[in-house]
């Protein structure tokens, strides 16, 4: 009988040992799975070896190698698109072939649309819009040919990318000289701004056009029809090699008016109207630029050399500057408004409601044809920047206007810099305020506070530090109960910090003496701990250590 009872206990013990081993005695924090939508593999297929005679890309690979390119300009402190086009990845380490007017409109004389950055959107899935992952820089550009080669340099958050680690899908170069009239071609691209997936159209080579200085195959004519956003994209032959770049004439060229749409609230007023920058997306196609014309650019980009267009043109810098360039101090004038702004009256600051402002300066040692640039910032945010080719002679006085057509310039501290020469050396800069300068100090107590409070948050039962605890300090006079009744309003918070991975915290705002502050500490797994009306006096050290122990 006794044996039987002991055996029963033993059996239960064994079962429980097994169960508890399965559950684990150390109960790690709950592991959750990734969201139900499993991440779709975005790793592109491994790059094809670039041997001669190898098979070209399949249609899937062609689609994967077509990218959408946004030209981005800083608006209200953020990079926002002002135009879009397409491009083709031509090497696994991120070289992209596109049009010059997509990569750098300034190369064709359109400096006002010159982007601050180029964003590259790659295909993830065919039925989804492309995902913007990278920034790219111009490596070689020829405004006359309207071709450019750009290189992926960093991810969207600004982290540098090692080109050799990219392993992107790419399209191999075909030979556009081997094309014949009647050959079939496939065209891939992104016709519009945002939201649209990759589009495909096809047709046949219907002929070639010659141009002086270029040769008999300056343009490939085709009966394929496609919209403006396809410009810069991929035209491939049946074997899957790139043989041409669809090229659209955008605004600024002879006679071809493009369709310009407002799609983003670029001026931040909450409305989509004529006050916002419009994005050109229409126009008709001249044809395809044969890919062989791009070979010198590709070679220059791959070898890291500077590409010099043999076709010249007044829109390209033709001189590197004398090295003796000098700009004088900036004086400020009110402007007469609009693009044809003239200097009116000299001022030392601008009143609120100004529509245009002119920065004037003397210059000397300049050479016509050398590059120069300007950049305007307000309260630290870049407002406008552009680069140009100098054509004002060796010395004299000039001015540059900053203007807003529909709304007055926002109040703030304005700063302008002018650069010139091959290395864009900064030659002069100036500051002026509009409307009396920036806003008041948002935290009036900061300057008056004297005590810096710091310490460690730890668990009193184990003496282990507690990271990621949130520490709030409320405005003097507010208790925890007040704050809770106010639904934890942000306005009641004087200072806030979190404890770091070793449990240590330091309040970023100093506390004043002889007034009561309320501290509230949150940490998951513990009840909310607070202390109302804590007062520091003149006897307390200016660096005050206050460790906080929590118990559960």
């Amino acid at each position: 009988m006794k044996l039987y009872k002991v055996n029963r206990i033993l059996v239960m013990v064994v079962i429980l040992v097994l169960v508890s081993l399965a559950c684990g005695t150390s109960n790690p924090p709950v592991q959750t799975q990734a969201p139900q939508s499993q991440p779709t593999p975005t790793n592109p297929p491994p790059p094809k070896p670039n041997d001669n005679g190898q098979a070209g890309s399949s249609r899937t690979d062609l689609i994967a190698a077509t990218v959408q390119i946004y030209g981005l300009v800083t608006i209200n402190g953020q990079l926002s698109p002002i135009y879009s086009g397409s491009g083709t990845i031509i090497s696994s380490n991120g070289l992209i072939l596109t049009n010059a007017h997509v990569a750098s409109p300034a190369s064709q004389g359109d400096t006002s649309d010159e982007p601050d950055a180029l964003a590259i959107g790659v295909m993830d899935k065919e039925d989804k819009p492309p995902v913007f992952l990278y920034y790219a820089n111009v490596k070689a550009v020829d405004g006359y040919l309207d071709l450019a080669v750009i290189q992926i340099t960093s991810t969207m958050d600004g982290a540098y990318v090692d080109p050799d680690s990219l392993n992107l899908p790419y399209v191999q170069m075909g030979n556009s000289d081997d094309l014949h009239v009647g050959d079939h071609i496939d065209i891939f691209g992104f016709p519009g701004i945002g939201g649209d997936t990759i589009t495909f159209t096809d047709g046949n080579v219907s002929g070639f056009t010659a141009e002086d200085g270029i040769g008999d195959r300056a343009w490939i004519k085709t009966d394929a029809t496609f919209a403006g956003g396809n410009s810069g994209g991929l035209a491939a032959n049946d074997a899957g090699y790139i043989i041409g770049v669809p090229t659209i004439a955008s605004s600024g060229s002879e006679g071809n008016i493009t369709d310009c749409r407002v799609v983003q609230d670029t001026n931040g007023d909450g409305e989509l109207d004529s006050g916002d920058t419009c994005i050109p997306i229409g126009g008709f196609i001249n044809g395809l630029r044969p890919v062989n014309l791009a070979l010198p650019l590709i070679k220059a980009a791959q070898s890291g050399q500077q590409y010099a267009s043999p076709f010249g043109g007044s829109d390209q810098p033709t001189s590197n500057g004398s090295g003796n360039e000098a700009f004088g101090q900036i004086t400020w004038y009110t402007g007469s408004g609009g693009a044809d702004c003239e200097m009116v009256d000299q001022v030392s600051s601008f009143a609120s409601g100004t529509y245009s402002m002119a920065a004037a300066f003397d210059f000397s040692g300049m050479t016509d044809g050398e590059p120069w640039a300007e950049e305007w910032t307000v309260d630290g945010d870049v407002l406008y920047s552009s680069d140009y080719v100098w054509n004002l002679g060796r010395q004299g006085t000039t001015y540059s206007c900053l203007y807003n057509e529909t709304q007055p310039m926002p109040d703030g501290n304005y700063h302008v810099e002018f650069y010139a020469g091959e290395n864009y050396d900064r030659l002069t800069q100036g500051d002026v305020t509009v409307g009396g300068g920036g806003g008041g100090n948002p935290n009036p107590n900061v300057d008056q506070g004297v005590v810096t409070v710091f310490g460690q948050v730890y668990d009193v039962n184990s003496n282990n530090p507690l990271p990621d605890a949130e520490i709030y300090v409320l405005n003097p006079g507010t208790t925890y109960a007040n704050w809770k009744a106010n639904n934890y309003a942000d306005a009641d918070i004087y200072s806030f910090t979190t404890s770091d991975y070793q449990g240590n915290y330091t309040l970023p705002d100093k506390l004043a003496l002889n007034i009561g502050y309320t501290f509230v500490v949150y940490k998951d797994g513990y009840s909310i701990t607070f202390g109302d009306d804590l007062v520091w006096t003149v006897q307390d050290p200016l660096d005050y250590q206050m460790d906080i122990s929590l118990s559960n």
Binding site: I9, V19, Y526, T529
Partner: protein, 315 residues
Amino acid sequence: MPDHICSVCKQPAENKIKTRWFCHEHFTSATHQRPHAWRSFVLLIIAQIVFVGLVYLLDAGIKPVLAGSALVWAGVLMALIPAAIWMVFFYLQDRIEPEPKGFILAVFLLGGLLAAAIGTPLLENIFHISKWIYADTAATILGSILVVGFSQEFLKYAAVRYSIYRSAEFDEATDGVIYATAAGLGYATLLNIQFVISNGGVDLGASVIRMAVVALAHASFAAITGYFLGRAKFEQEPIWWMPLGLTLAATVNGLFNWMRGRVVQSGISLTSASSNPWMGLILAAALAIITTGIILWLVRRDIRSALASETGRLS
């Protein structure tokens, strides 16, 4: 010829307590009084506190530098000591028939294993206690009683009820308290071990307080259940008797948890520390002394009335 058989050993029985019959041997043991039980328990609690003080002072004085797995092992070892102190006291009891050491150990282990296999996973992975129980006072009290209290006390009850309860070794009124306390200690010891391991090692001086609190508290809650179990075995009780016992234990468990949180965590101030674990130890010791005092008094009263009514019957 005798009509009745002993409810413990199935031998002929001549004595009865209320409606149950017992043979002479088991009647004697069922009504055995332990004259020094109360004193022993108080000494036991004092021993626990002394242990805490010793470790605390040693840690402060010597400041041993342990790190990594050595610290974890030291913590686990230390978690076993409060239970060991209790066990020693059980065995030192003045007894007619000591409980088999194996059985006490078995129930102790069972309590610990139930905590590991069911108790902690239920509270952490299914109920996610730590996410909502601190929301406000009502959440803490109700959550502590309904979820923490009932689950923990039921498991300790099960550790006794489904193992040793029917055995002939369970033959005294105080056996209920003893075995249940062993289960409670096993539960508490496992909680302390999990505390050490999930924290990757804890400061010995600081954590010994917490360990003693947990041990004293869980032993006390379990003792309540044990008293009810003991009486249920030897006297016929109504159907609501045992559920009442469990509910009482769960309620004391929940209320103690809430009270301990209130006395230990005092709030941020410049003049004092924001929490004081020693208050928790004082509360736990008070709980243990009061609970065991009440229970032992109740047991003594039950035995006296059983003896009196039996004497009355036989004379």
